[in-house]
C-alpha cells in the first residue's frame, strides 16, 4: 500500500517533469528555427556585399576612339569606346582566335565600355597612354571567385568555359583580380545581369510607398480612433464600425491587392505599377492596425486628466485635442511604426497591382513605376541565375535591417515617452 503510493507519486512527478520538458523543447524548437533561418540568410547573403573586379590594362588609343587632337569634353563623351574596350579584353590572351576573343569579352559585364569611358572622363590626360582599369567581372566568374560555383562540373554543364577559367586563373595568379565592397548593389537599379543588379530602384519604391501609406493611414486612423474612443455614442452603428475594424485587421493581404486592382486601377485609372497605388493599398491594410493601437493608448489615459480639463471649463473638443491626444501620442506613434513595418514587408498586394514589372530606372516620384524591397526579393528568387541567390539573401538582410530599426524605434518611443499611470 505504502509502496504503491510512493510509486504513484513518483509517476506523477515524472509526468510533471516530462510536461515541463515538452514546454522547454517547444520554446527551444521555435528559437532553433529562428537561428537556422538567420544563419542561412547570412551565410548565403554576406558574399553579395563583395564584388569581383578584373584589373585589365587599357590603352586609350586616340585613333581607335575616333578622337582628334585636343578633344573637348563633348568629344570625349561621344567618342567610341567599344573598340578599345574589346581590344583590351582581347589583349589578355595574344594568341586568342575569334571565338576565344568573344569568350574573353564575356568575362566582364556589359558595362565594361561605360567603366572605361568613366575612367577617361575622370582623367582626360590618359589619351595615348595605358592604364589598368577596374572592370566588373561577369557574375559567373564572380561566383567562381567567391567559391560558390562548382568548378569540377563537366564543361558543358557550366556557364564558364575552360578557356575562361584558364585566363581567369592566370589573372588571379598575377593578382589582377580583386574583391571590393559592392557599392553598386546599393546604387544601381535592377538588372537582368546579377553582377549589375542593385536595390536602389526597389529601395526608393519602398520608401515612396511607405511615405504614401503614412500620409494617408496615419491622419485617418488617428482621427477615427479619437472619434471612436472619445466622442462616439454607444450604439449599433459604432459597434458595426468596431466589428469592421477588427475584421479588416485579419483579412488576408492579397484581398487588399484585389481591392487595389479592382478599384484603384480598374475604376479610378491610377497609374499601374506605381508606389502611389501601392501606398494607398498598403494604407488601407495598415489602417486597422493603427486605429487599434491609437484607441488602446487613448484608453490608457486616465479619466482624471479629462475630468480636470473639463472642470477648468474646457470643452470636450479642447479636452481631447489639448490633453488626451498629446498624452496618447507615444503609444499611437509606436503602433504606427509597427504598422508601417508590416506594410514594408508586404508583397502579395503589390504584386497584384503590378509592382513586379521589371524596372531598370530609379524612380524619382511616387508616380513612376517601381518595385519594392520584398517584391525585389520575389523577382530575384524566381530568376534562374546563380548570382541572384546571394543577392536575394543580401536584399533580405537589408529589409530585415530596416524592420529591426523600425521596431527598435517603436520600442524606444514607447519606453522613453510614454507616461506610466499608476
Amino acid at each position: 500500500m505504502n509502496k504503491s503510493k510512493e510509486q504513484l507519486l513518483n509517476k506523477r512527478y515524472k509526468a510533471e517533469q516530462r510536461f515541463r520538458l515538452y514546454g522547454l523543447s517547444a520554446i527551444f524548437m521555435a528559437l532553433l528555427f529562428l537561428t537556422i533561418f538567420i544563419f542561412k540568410i547570412f551565410s548565403t547573403g554576406y558574399s553579395a556585399f563583395q564584388k569581383t573586379w578584373l584589373i585589365v590594362p587599357v590603352t586609350f588609343d586616340a585613333e581607335l576612339m575616333m578622337l582628334e587632337q585636343n578633344p573637348s569634353n563633348e568629344d570625349l563623351q561621344d567618342a567610341d569606346y567599344y573598340d578599345i574596350a574589346l581590344k583590351s579584353m582581347a589583349d589578355l590572351d595574344p594568341n586568342a582566335n575569334e571565338d576565344q576573343e568573344n569568350e574573353l569579352k564575356r568575362m566582364v559585364s556589359y558595362f565594361f565600355e561605360k567603366e572605361i569611358k568613366n575612367e577617361l572622363l575622370n582623367n582626360p590626360g590618359l589619351i595615348g597612354k595605358t592604364k589598368e582599369v577596374y572592370l566588373t567581372a561577369s557574375d559567373d566568374l564572380d561566383q567562381v571567385f567567391k567559391g560558390n560555383y562548382p568548378r569540377d562540373l563537366p564543361e558543358d554543364q557550366r556557364r564558364v568555359s575552360d578557356y575562361q577559367l584558364k585566363i581567369f586563373d592566370q589573372l588571379v595568379a598575377k593578382g589582377k583580380v580583386e574583391s571590393k565592397f559592392n557599392i553598386s548593389f546599393f546604387t544601381y537599379a535592377d538588372s537582368r545581369e546579377p553582377e549589375l543588379a542593385g536595390i536602389a530602384s526597389s529601395f526608393m519604391g519602398s520608401i515612396f510607398s511607405i511615405l504614401v501609406c503614412l500620409m494617408i493611414a496615419f491622419p485617418v486612423a488617428v482621427l477615427a480612433a479619437i472619434y471612436l474612443e472619445e466622442f462616439a455614442p454607444k450604439n449599433r452603428f459604432t459597434d458595426f464600425i468596431e466589428v469592421n475594424i477588427n475584421n479588416l485587421a485579419a483579412v488576408p493581404s492579397i484581398v487588399f491587392g484585389l481591392l487595389g486592382l479592382g478599384v484603384l486601377l480598374a475604376i479610378f485609372h491610377l497609374p499601374r505599377s506605381t508606389p502611389l497605388v501601392g501606398g494607398i493599398t498598403l494604407s488601407l491594410m495598415t489602417l486597422p492596425t493603427i486605429i487599434i493601437a491609437a484607441r488602446a493608448s487613448l484608453k490608457a489615459v486616465p479619466p482624471s486628466i479629462r475630468e480636470a480639463a473639463l472642470a477648468m471649463g474646457a470643452s470636450r473638443m479642447q479636452t481631447t485635442m489639448h490633453h488626451t491626444v498629446p498624452l496618447s501620442m507615444p503609444g499611437t506613434l509606436s503602433g504606427t511604426i509597427i504598422g508601417l513595418a508590416q506594410a514594408l514587408g508586404e508583397t502579395a498586394p503589390l504584386i497584384l497591382i503590378g509592382m513586379v514589372a521589371f524596372v531598370n530606372t530609379i524612380p524619382g516620384s511616387p508616380m513612376d513605376p517601381a518595385a519594392s524591397l520584398p517584391v525585389q526579393i520575389y523577382i530575384w528568387a524566381e530568376s534562374a541565375e546563380r548570382g541572384f541567390v546571394e543577392k536575394v539573401s543580401a536584399c533580405i538582410m537589408v529589409l530585415l535591417g530596416f524592420l529591426i530599426i523600425m521596431n527598435l524605434f517603436a520600442q524606444i518611443i514607447r519606453h522613453k515617452f510614454e507616461k506610466k499611470w499608476s
Binding site: 510536461f19 466622442f231 528568387a381
Partner: protein, 461 residues
C-alpha cells in the same frame, strides 16, 4: 496649375485665420465680451475658406473628365461608331495631346486632340475663377458673422466632429470597397461558369481558358472542366492543416511554458525572440522554404527511397507553421495568464502538481480563448500567399500526399493576375471569384474567433 492654385488657397486659409483672430482682438479692445477664444474666430474663417474649395475641387475631379469626353466625342456622335470604338478614339486623342502617341495620326484625331487641349485649359481656368470667387464670397460672409460677434466655437467644434466621424467611416468604406471590387467580377464569372461546376468540379486548368478573340469568349463549352475549384480548396486546407500540425503543438506548449513555468528573466528574453518570427516578412519565409527546406526534404526523401517533389506541400506547410507559431504562442500565453489565480490556488491546495493543474484546470478554463487563437492562426494560414507562391506548386493537383505538390487559392490568384490582365476575361474573373471565396472563408473564421475570444474575456473580467 493645380498646385499653384492649391498653394494659393492654403495661403488664403492661413491669412483668413490670421484676420479672424485679429478681428477677435479688435472686438475685445472695444470692451465687448468675446463668445469664444480668439483662435476660434480664426479657425471659423479658415474653415469657411477650406470647405468651398474642397467641394469645388472634388466636383471638378468627378465631372471634368466626363464632360470633356462628351464634348470631344460629340464630333463623332452621328457617324455610327460603337462605344468601344469611341473609347479607343478618345484614348488616342488623349495620348496624342500628351505627345506620347505612336500610331498613325489622322487629321480627325489631331483636330480632336486640339479640341481636347483647349477644353482642358478652359476647364482649368474656369475652375480657378470659380474657386477664388466663391472662396472670397464665403470668407466675406463669415467675416461679417464674426464682426457681429456671433458664436464661433460651436460651429468649429461641430465641423471637427464631422471630420472625426468621416474618418471613422474609413473602415466601413474599405470593407465596402473590398466587397464591391470582388462582387461584380465574381457575378460575371458565374454568368459564364455555373456555380455548381466551380464548387464541385475537380479540374482546374485556367491556362486552357486563353481567349484568342472575343467570339471564342462567348462559347461556354470551351470552359467546361476548366474552372473546377475542388483541387484548389483541398490544397488550401491541406497546406493549412500541415501548418497547424507544426504550429499548434509548438505554439501551444511554448505559450503554456512561458505563462506557467518560465522565470521572469526567461520570459523577458524568450517572448520577444519568438515574436521576431511573426515580424519576418512572408516573402522571406517563401525564399527560405523554396531554397532550403524544399531541396532538403527532397534529398532526405531520396535517401529514404521516397519520391519527394521539390515543391512539396510539406515544405510550404511546414514553413508556414513556423510562421504561425508566435501567433498561437502569444495569444495562448495571454489567455492563460488571464485565468484567475484562485483557480490555480484551489488546485494546488488539493495537492495537484503544476502540470496536473495546467492540464485539468487551467487548460479547460482557457480552452475557448485557445480555440479562438487557433482559429485566427488557421485564417492566417489560409490567407498566406508568398510562401505558397514561392514554395508550393502552381499546378492544381488533387492529392492528399504531403510529398507531392499542390496549389492554393492565394497562389492561383497570384498566378492568374501577375502580369497584364484583361478585365472581362473569365480567367481574370476566376481570380476574383477565388478572392471572394477566400474573403468569405476568412471572414467567417475571424468573426467566430473574435466572438469566442471576446466572450472568454468577458467571463473573467
Amino acid at each position: 496649375m493645380n498646385s499653384i492654385l492649391f498653394t494659393f488657397i492654403v495661403l488664403l486659409g492661413f491669412t483668413s485665420y490670421y484676420f479672424g483672430r485679429k478681428k477677435a482682438y479688435t472686438i475685445q479692445s472695444t470692451k465687448k465680451r468675446l463668445t469664444a477664444l480668439p483662435q476660434f474666430y480664426g479657425y471659423y474663417l479658415a474653415i469657411w475658406c477650406a470647405i468651398p474649395a474642397f467641394i469645388i475641387f472634388s466636383l471638378w475631379a468627378i465631372f471634368e473628365p466626363t464632360i470633356v469626353k462628351l464634348l470631344v466625342l460629340s464630333d463623332y456622335s452621328n457617324q455610327g461608331y460603337l462605344d468601344d470604338e469611341l473609347n479607343l478614339i478618345y484614348e488616342k486623342t488623349k495620348s496624342l495631346s500628351r505627345g506620347q502617341f505612336t500610331g498613325e495620326i489622322t487629321p480627325f484625331i489631331e483636330a480632336s486632340a486640339e479640341k481636347y487641349l483647349s477644353l482642358r485649359s478652359i476647364a482649368q481656368s474656369s475652375k480657378a475663377v470659380i474657386v477664388l470667387s466663391i472662396i472670397i464670397a464665403s470668407v466675406a460672409y463669415a467675416y461679417k458673422r464674426i464682426s457681429s460677434n456671433s458664436r464661433t466655437r460651436e460651429p468649429v467644434e461641430k465641423f471637427l466632429n464631422a471630420v472625426l466621424f468621416t474618418a471613422s467611416l474609413a473602415a466601413i468604406l474599405t470593407t465596402i470597397g473590398i466587397v464591391f471590387s470582388l462582387i461584380f467580377q465574381t457575378i460575371d464569372f458565374f454568368k459564364v461558369i455555373p456555380l455548381f461546376d466551380f464548387v464541385f468540379g475537380t479540374h482546374w486548368y485556367p491556362a486552357k481558358a486563353f481567349v484568342r478573340d472575343s467570339s471564342e469568349a462567348l462559347d461556354p463549352s470551351m470552359y467546361s472542366d476548366t474552372f473546377g475549384a475542388v483541387p484548389i480548396f483541398a490544397g488550401t486546407f491541406f497546406i493549412a492543416f500541415i501548418a497547424m500540425c507544426v504550429a499548434i503543438p509548438i505554439g501551444l506548449m511554448s505559450g503554456i511554458y512561458l505563462a506557467e513555468y518560465a522565470s521572469s528573466k526567461v520570459r523577458q528574453y524568450a517572448k520577444p525572440l519568438i515574436e521576431i518570427l511573426a515580424g519576418i516578412p512572408t516573402v522571406v519565409y517563401g525564399f527560405f522554404a523554396a531554397l532550403t527546406v524544399g531541396p532538403f526534404l527532397k534529398e532526405l526523401g531520396t535517401s529514404m527511397g521516397l519520391e519527394v517533389s521539390a515543391e512539396s506541400a510539406l515544405a510550404a506547410g511546414g514553413v508556414m507553421g513556423i510562421m504561425i507559431i508566435p501567433f498561437i504562442s502569444s495569444l495562448s500565453d495571454d489567455v492563460i495568464t488571464s485565468v484567475p489565480q484562485s483557480l490555480r490556488d484551489g488546485s494546488y491546495a488539493m495537492g495537484a502538481t503544476k502540470s496536473e493543474t495546467i492540464k485539468r484546470v487551467i487548460f479547460p478554463a482557457a480552452l475557448p480563448g485557445i480555440v479562438g487563437s487557433i482559429l485566427l492562426g488557421v485564417s492566417r494560414a489560409i490567407g498566406e500567399t508568398m510562401i505558397v507562391v514561392m514554395a508550393s506548386g502552381l499546378a492544381a493537383n488533387l492529392t492528399l500526399n504531403p510529398l507531392e505538390s499542390t496549389s492554393t487559392i492565394t497562389a492561383q490568384i497570384v498566378v492568374i493576375l501577375i502580369g497584364d490582365q484583361a478585365f472581362g476575361d473569365p480567367k481574370t474573373q476566376a481570380a476574383f471569384a477565388l478572392g471572394m471565396s477566400l474573403f468569405l472563408v476568412t471572414l467567417c473564421l475571424n468573426i467566430v474567433a473574435l466572438r469566442v475570444v471576446k466572450k472568454y474575456r468577458e467571463k473573467y473580467e
